[in-house]
Symmetry: D3
Subunit: 265 residues, 6 copies
């Protein structure tokens, strides 16, 4: 890769990917609405509000790949997701179309399917059941990606990320954990495969309790190497179990599925 | 029904439904951003911009059902769909939640699945493949409805309307036509069934060439009575066939699937 | 048919079938634990406790077909279903094996699948989800039939009867009604088809709101002629709707699914 | 249609179609290896050995449609099917490619799936299980058609014809009968639909006992009007049932599935 | 776990589990109809006839988990399975309901699906095809468990155990073997997972020739560690192959599927 | 194994298998239309034209297994495949029938499914979509095998071989590579399993990018040990990527799917 854009670079996930992808591309163009001051070799920074199309077009110009982590990444009011997640994702795809970028890594979320039961096994064909306005906005992003693929041939990895952290820190993450190394490896595979299409991939490491089946995206060649099993004892000791009657236990989305609605003020 | 809201009442479909539903509810509350001047018995009118939450809340107050036809109903720029279709649909559901309305008829569109091939048979489980920004916005509405069902129990009919006109007027409509009478009957069934859930229904009459299979929503009890076959000879005579090489023939969405992108200015 | 056994002949369903099947077989051997005193031409009666194997063997001797309606047909304590439904059904099949009867019409019940949601469409492959001990006992009968088919070649129609009455009398029956004429016609088809196998058939007339799909047993050639639609207005007028919050509305089994457990004393 | 080729025109099916299609095309080019002497208005005749490529090319020249009924239509030795069915079908498709014919009606056969059980419901996705060398040769033709579609865009209807006769004459035909009128109507629909693809269609009238489900080819718009039910009493009276133990009763192909192998001499 | 009931504790499988589970629960309550004389630390013993409800209730009182291995574990007469397997399993579930036990490990059997072909791959959705009265009784137990889950929320693991022995001793067991260690690990996982539901799990080690696919119960987190491959050479040397024509080779249930019927005397 | 026939023994694959199978059978009967001069211990050679039935019968006589690699193994004119692939495969099966050989390893090809997209995951149920006349001929062979299984009980492994070479040498082979060792191991498993049926197996090593899923043939017990990952760096360095627009990237068959038609002269 020559020049790759990383949106949301100032966030937790963005920081981890900067580190894990060091040296992978000639230039990693970092972007966020929040400034990033310390740059490493091979990085540049451009501040950008994803809600502004012309800024996004300038941001994307000259890139041959986009890792789109930007936008709101937790539940919020509807207003709070309109700018970064609805407009922002549209702007990324529209800029790619106008400028000829052919492949996008889109950070979707497991909260797109968070109202499925924990006893269900999901794959790329499972229907979306968002557990939050945030989940709805990520589902919207997946539909937008599908539209740009079918009409304009822009390929996407729609990565329904579980919980990407240095290690799992609660019991639910024994199922959903995605190690930073596995995530970085997935990014590389997505840009290495000859043909990507518009493909749903569940972003979880090789965890024994996983709810998700990636056989339909096997052709991408990603084989996660880490497992939450390594941290099982630690998690069970440190994280008290939920009460049996807690409905958060029923749904893959956990607390997202049982949280109330965030009203706009 | 006592008091039912009909959004988009000034549009073609809205006008047809006003007529077809006359007498069905004690009061039909018409709404549109465009004024409606002549009211029939049992109708009232409230102008409303669906993009404004507090106005929508006032509109919904006191209704026990919502037929949501409002918003943009053809392809347009992204900006043009943000207000009516993204914000508007959210506002309708949020108003329903705040005010306790339990069931919504949501006019989705066949353009949510317009990039499927004409040789495919679709049902409620077929993945969304929108053929336009308009199609994406209707898919967003379906996801929003699913969220409000799973989290708050608001039931919806997600009606992927084909072509609702007095009669089919081109060859594609031999597959997609929905008679106004069948549509009105569907609205009545949606409000009559004991239990609706959040259910995808393809809105087409009993056409021989149909691409869509409604067996999964059979429990609603809707049995369309009209058929495009009645108009077959007329259509074949008046509407010249597309050239064999025209890619619009490949996709269920027809020209929507082959139209270019509407850029924001 | 020469000589056909009808168990449960004194019950409501048995009485209706005696009438509807008049003249179909040379001899209809009626049986029940309750005496039947008035016999029509072509009928004989033998009292029998289905829980006694040697009596059942005597009952089956000389018959070339069995219509097995006998046993308990409503929810009861476990003890009450052991005799007629567990032992009784086993005895019928075992007698058939010993005496060479090749085909059995087994009155199973929709309560074998009563915990499926009313928004689901079921077919012969849908998993059993019994809503009652009665439903469990009918599922047991289906498994017994499958065993006798796979091991001994005895063919069965496993008819998951909805509500077989002269006409539908509550709102749920608009979905589940089976007319007596359609049921009698099904019995005839089951004995006319060249090859029956061990086949699940949902016993409902051609109702618009049906939850059940019989395409997998289409080869039997049964095409129900009646429809609950005929009685729709009458039912809606006479049977008050359940409260929206009543959980019986959620499940196909209705009140069976929400009734408590019948404890043995 | 202007000029349509009908191969196998001297056979039983060919004769019936000549009659049923009278007037449909400007010219119906009849062909067979057997001479046809009496021609009707709008018909021409060209003798042709389908096993000879250059003759087939001459035959196809100038046609805008092909109804390919030719070749061997019953079981025979392998040698007997090589010429007409393997080479012959290849030659028809290759001539179409060289001359630009875009759509072919291919008379495949139910014997392509004859080893499926009579209790199975088949659709276009059911795997091929040929019951005879003849069935294998028809399966070969379907694969050839698929190849010419995927590589060269030639569309085909792969019509798995049941039993096309004036009326059903044995019990199996109560399931498999295809009336001549329904078949002719299917040919017309195949050439009228905007987009055909390469589509499997089961060729049976609207028979109550049908084993086959055409919902996946519903988009073609064919709705058979006849039913074997009309002849049920007559068939049951005139055609003695097979012995229960006859294995021909097990398989959809009937006697084809139980016949021995035709050895080459 | 504090206090766990182990039924069938005097049987082969029960003995193996006592050993393998030593120390797992504070108290392991052993039960059998046969007395157990030597108890290990942490074990107690209560004799119980599972066919007697009040005894079973006393047995279950105070337990927070039940491992139900009890009842008849081989084919027998129908009378012999009524007590332990039909009544017994009902009594276990009914006692759990009355006393508030929330989760049961139910030892079902591969003989519930023994009439499936060895060339089929089964998962939790495969239909039951019992190969014996014993298999029917285990299927009954699964239905009872489903009923108690749907109506009363009691969770179950329905473990279709293959062949749980120290090592595989015939060729069929190369497919069906379940090591004692893997079985004990499964029990622990079943009680460790946050949410179990009512879940079918095939009880086989990680054997290369397995017929069974546990991806649908992957969320339980069980990953068997042993494999019959370790014993392959030994088995092939010591166990002579069956004759090619032996029908026991056709079915997953092996000799169970070809054994005759056990008549009650 | 005592005496096993290896057709196509002079080809690349044949040579590799001679080496890899050394010592496996008492006698390996090599055959090809091309002479083989140097024989190893345990090998014999018989020249044979597969297009001649009586020669094939003589060839097969006395063998208890057949590894059928013979015939044309690349695209060619239709004439070139008639002899070796259509007639030849028929002759092998017919000889097996006449002489009582019960199990055949048939070298089918991935080109039977070469027109599937690289983003699709195939299994044994995926429809055939041949990418070449060669692919059609292999599909014909699979149908012939199915016919001989259903009618005469001859078992077959239908092995859709990817790219069997010492190592992968282009980028596509990172998905399709089958090591010679894994192929030889598959042959041995096919002859070791108790019951084979007529089973499709995808012939690829354990490659990360595989498009094919062999879970449905898992019962055969084959677990490939090699992986193209070993050669990944070497391949990526030595084999330049195809241009993004090259349609060969779209299809599993690669250049076979985009090559023109081989006309007979």
């Amino acid at each position: 890769m020559k020049r790759v854009l990383l949106t949301g670079a100032a966030g937790t996930l963005g920081k981890a990917m900067r580190k894990a992808l060091a040296g992978w591309a000639d230039e990693l163009v970092l972007s966020d609405i929040v400034p990033i001051e310390t740059l490493n070799k091979g990085e540049s920074f451009t501040a950008c509000d994803l809600g502004d199309l012309s800024s996004v077009i300038e941001l994307v110009r000259g890139c041959d790949g986009i890792i789109h982590l930007g936008g709101q990444s937790i539940e919020g009011t509807f207003d709070s997701i309109v700018n970064g997640n609805l407009k922002g994702t549209y702007h990324i795809y529209e800029a790619a179309r106008q400028l000829g970028v052919k492949r996008i890594f889109f950070a979707s979320s497991n909260h797109v399917v968070g109202f499925h039961s924990r006893e269900e096994r999901l794959d790329a064909n499972s229907p979306m059941r968002p557990d939050s306005l945030y989940g709805v906005s990520k589902g919207f992003g997946e539909l937008m990606a599908q539209y740009y693929f079918d009409k304009f041939g822009i390929e996407s990895a729609l990565v329904r990320i579980g919980s990407c952290l240095p290690k799992p820190i609660d019991r639910r993450m024994l199922s959903t954990w995605l190690s930073e190394g596995d995530m970085a490896d997935l990014i590389k595979k997505v840009y290495a495969v000859n043909r990507l299409g518009c493909t749903v991939i569940y972003g979880a490491s090789n965890n024994p309790w996983s709810w998700w089946d990636n056989r339909l995206s096997n052709f991408v060649g990603w084989q996660p190497k880490d497992s939450s099993e390594t941290f099982e004892d630690e998690v069970l000791k440190n994280d008290a179990p939920l009460d049996d009657e807690n409905p958060a236990l029923l749904f893959q989305g956990g607390f997202f599925a049982t949280a109330g609605h965030f009203e706009d003020e």
